[in-house]
Symmetry: C2
Subunit: 237 residues, 2 copies
């Protein structure tokens, strides 16, 4: 009897693995890196997808590549610089968007103002999930985002998921498990999971050494303070 059970176990494992294939939108920042560790610990077979919208992403994408290599996970980078075109001559609408930091580099500005960005990224990630027959697309939107951005709210995630379930022959679910957590909660979770935060990039300035002053750096520092953990990266200050 035991022999029979043993014989069937590998098949059951394969089946379980097939059930848990997912695509993760992966920027290489601390939120999506924590989610990567989280999903790996939940035994998801992960496929990583990054997006290049412009200048600032170059160093962030390098972090993403290094983490993907560390985990030996498939990682694709989609070039969406062409999409920046839809923003030309639209200064009228820029007042809608919160650009909180004066010292953004000009190239970085572009990155922050592509409207509908989550929907674009999630649509492409859904295409990837369909082609892999994966059950879900994950992204690491969190509570600090959804006060400002409508496409980081539960209503958006739920309604988009209704679409991705019926848009193709293979249904895909959109999941944002950190939506009720803030950046401090994420850092806490990351410390539990043993995330190597030395490999994550956060700073808006896009230089090798984080500035420590911009809003993104400040947010990161506060997150580590709240998690009562030490941030392993070096800052200019």
């Amino acid at each position: 009897m035991i022999a029979v059970n043993t014989q069937y176990q590998p098949l059951a494992q394969i089946e379980a693995k097939r059930m848990k294939k997912a695509v993760l939108i992966f920027s290489g920042g601390m939120d999506s890196t924590t989610l990567l560790y989280d999903l790996v610990s939940q035994q998801f077979e992960l496929y990583l997808l990054s997006f290049n919208y412009g200048q600032r992403h170059k160093i962030e994408l390098e972090s993403a590549k290094r983490t993907a290599e560390k985990f030996v996970l498939p990682h694709k980078i989609i070039d969406l610089t062409s999409v920046n075109q839809v923003m030309e001559g639209s200064s009228l609408t820029r007042s809608h968007i919160d650009v909180p930091y004066g010292h953004y580099a000009e190239e970085s500005m572009k990155v922050t103002i592509v409207p509908n960005r989550n929907m674009i990224m999630l649509s492409i990630a859904t295409a990837y999930a369909v082609s892999l027959e994966a059950e879900a697309v994950y992204f690491a939107a969190h509570a600090g985002d959804h006060a400002i951005y409508p496409d980081c709210r539960q209503e958006f995630v739920d309604k988009l998921s209704e679409v991705t379930k019926i848009a193709n022959y293979h249904p895909v679910e959109i999941r944002a498990p950190y939506l009720q957590m803030d950046k401090g909660d994420i850092a806490k979770r990351g410390v539990e999971l043993g995330v190597d935060y030395s490999m994550t990039y956060t700073c808006y300035e896009g230089k090798e050494l984080a500035c420590g002053k911009c809003g993104a750096c400040q947010e990161r520092k506060e997150a580590f303070l709240k998690a009562e953990a030490l941030d392993p990266i070096k800052y200019q200050d």
Copy 2:
């Protein structure tokens, strides 16, 4: 009294024009070209958006450019060739997709098999609409499509529209007014509107002269037959 009315009319016209700004997903084929004429006749202020996924589109995009120039309408072409990556090594799922014609060129094959393509295009078009503060995104899906493709059905359009209404500070509606019409109905409508079909490109082969034999050419010929109209383009046969 008449003088006062005259004075107020231009303002009212400006207001009406502001109310009817829209983005059209424009391939340069007969369906989206008919919709272009249709929306212009409804006095929409139109912004055209085309997508380049690969080889086959080159000649179709030339048609699109010529029609845009004829109408002096803003026209952007988004390069999405990078998105083809998400299809690598996914031969498993290709059986889901109807590729009805044996003589597709190899490069054209790629074009037909990007899953979730409508959602990707509509997401980017929505970004454009938000940046323009346009009320809607139009696309020319028709009854001949939705038997095969889930993302050409009313349910998909309705659910996606629920998302685009809440995904950004500016709400956008997704509209597919030809969804209950077949290609023959569209040709009939086009003849009424005076569409110049000599400027539209349909053939799958991607050569300057349409082959007349592939599925797309056959569909086009049937549409003109049903509309009792003459197709102005020349065929190889």
